[in-house]
Subunit: 376 residues, 2 copies
């Protein structure tokens, strides 16, 4: 009885989604005909809508009141109906300019990426710091703070640094510290955590046993690496919470019943962004796959995420360092624009990292012309 998914029905689905994304209110047949000057009557549209509903692409909050898309509807839209868009040249220029202003300031990049994502897509953004598959030690510097305290700056491959203070014996000179740091730097050069631990166990360098102090430094590095892995494991940067909460989904549409639910939704959303629960499982997935990932509402494993869509892309330099960034918002979101935004920022970040790493490396898999991106 549902009938085939004719061309016109696809158009109607597309228009319903477009309209619903714009207005956030259920879409009526009449509205569609009027607004888009359809060459058919509202009754025909109603029939098609009913068919789309039977196909599972639309639904009906109440008998009266228009249609809204289902998750399956969005999914079909994203995969088949959506026109690929990109940010306007003016927007691209503005974004590039902002990144240009923090060139060199590695530690600002993620925050900026989050800020730009959020403001451009009008939803919350998330990102993980770029991570090497394997944290690799690069060098150690020791700077005396006063007679009994020094600051250790541990540099890892990829411009990642970690600071750590350590107590020292009063007697040590700056030259002492420099020598010890240099020796440990040479000993541990390019080591992964497990290699550092091996070397700590052996505790010799070129056959010479390490001094007490040097052994302490090696341990310090090992501990720092462990702490670092732990910290970055789950740390998710985020921005644009306010941006997302300004979406009509978080306004009480009517009745105090709904109001309480709106607040509850708000609180749960905060919880999601703060804890990263619900996002956690998606990260490795996004890291593994290329292209842009779109997860819509009920497709999430986590129940708490059922009302949200997430758009994620991997960024980084193939084989060297990678992170994930993206957008989270209500399922009703401007998918074409959001997807292009995520794609653009990911490629920008990839380029920045590529430059940092090695000018010759291919930026990454998420490129503006990558057909994978369209895939999802």
């Amino acid at each position: 009885m549902s009938g085939p998914l004719t061309e016109r029905r696809q158009t109607i689905l597309k228009l319903v989604i477009q309209e619903f994304v714009d207005t956030a209110t259920p879409v009526a047949s009449e509205t569609l005909v009027r607004k888009y000057r359809l060459p058919v009557s509202s009754a025909t549209v109603r029939n098609d809508m009913a068919a789309l509903e039977e196909l599972g692409f639309l639904t009906h909050p109440h008998t009266s009141g228009g249609r809204i898309p289902t998750d399956a509807g969005y999914r079909f839209f994203v995969e088949n109906l959506m026109e690929r868009s990109s940010l306007s040249p003016a927007e691209q220029r503005m974004i590039r300019h902002q990144f240009y202003q923090v060139r060199g300031e590695l530690d600002q990049w993620i925050q900026l990426a989050c800020a730009v994502l959020a403001r451009t897509a009008h939803n919350a953004s998330v990102a993980t710091a770029p991570r090497a598959e394997q944290l690799r030690f690069k060098s150690l510097e020791l700077i005396a703070i006063h007679e009994t305290m020094a600051l250790a700056v541990i540099v890892f491959h990829g411009g990642i640094i970690k600071q750590q203070t350590l107590p020292i014996e009063p007697g040590r000179t700056a030259e002492d510290l420099r020598r010890a740091a240099g020796l440990v730097s040479d000993l541990l050069a390019d080591s992964t955590l497990s290699r550092v631990e091996e070397l700590a166990a052996v505790a010799t360098f070129n056959g010479m046993p390490l001094s007490e102090f040097e052994r302490g430094l090696v341990d310090l590095v090992a501990r720092a690496m462990m702490a670092f892995e732990e910290q970055t494991q789950e740390q998710i940067y985020s921005d644009g919470l306010l941006e997302m909460l300004s979406q009509p989904e978080f306004l009480p549409a009517s009745g105090r019943d709904d109001a309480e639910r709106a607040i509850e939704r708000m609180r749960r959303t905060l919880e999601i962004l703060r804890s990263g629960r619900g996002l956690g499982p998606l990260i490795p997935q996004a890291l593994a796959s290329g292209g842009v990932q779109v997860i819509i509402g009920g497709e999430h494993v986590e129940d708490a995420m059922r009302d949200y869509s997430v758009i994620l892309a991997r960024y980084g330099v193939e084989g060297a360092i990678a992170g994930v960034l993206g957008i989270i918002g209500p399922t009703r979101m401007a998918y074409p624009r959001s997807i292009s935004t995520v794609r653009y920022i990911a490629s920008l970040m990839s380029n920045l990292l590529a430059e940092l790493y090695n000018l010759n490396a291919r930026p990454s898999e998420v490129d503006v012309d990558d057909e994978n991106a369209q895939r999802v």
Copy 2:
């Protein structure tokens, strides 16, 4: 007609506040008598309440329904009625333990302080990073990332570090970089930003003119210092948003009218914490004064803050480095507990910093036994 502020009336004010803080609902005369077994009748309490209302300490949302404290009521409570409390030894131990676990990891301290504050006081916490009155250069390290890119790690007094990448000419050896970094480190040692700029203008070291590369490094340091000042100027760490938003103030008490207002409040609160507007002016004030600052509701300059109370304390090492940390929440908050929490965390952070700086320095002005703290 209002009559004097007798002992009993003060007790009643105190009980009303206590009860209101607990229950978040207006306090009725009858409730007070029953719950605290007052040796007088509810009528007497009502009379006293009326007097307290005329004195400006209590108010009346509606004719029926109990009393709630005014800002002035809270102020009087905080200054005269409140018993000084401190955190339980068990809590103190737990908190100290958490700080112990990140000892050495300077960059984690503020975040931890915020987290602990929020969880202990059940409200949002804010903190600024510890800042030297004058940012002073300590040393520069250069680490080659690859042939044309290096990472500069700039260390300032007080364990503050800033990283920055810079492009280099392909020819430079690691030894080159080390030498140049060492020279610039010596040249700029202990300089403030203005001094660095002076030295950049002169561009000589011990009478010898600096090389192109070395001049570039000096400029880099100057730019990094400027960037740093700018970034930390307004940056306010925060945590416990969710904690605060779980307070009944952010629930719609009744009617959909109130629901909308609740959401609006929520949104405005987010805005405050994100932008730091409303908090901004309080920071220098808190930095300047010792002790614990309590600003209650309408006492705020900023209109947007009229519904919130803020408790701030300075932390740091006298004459060397200082920051501010505290709590923000609805005016209805557990002042005694919140104040002791803020005081405790501030003194803890001060001790940590003192240790980092110099074991002999006096921690700071906010000590557990400091009578200043009670002052406000």
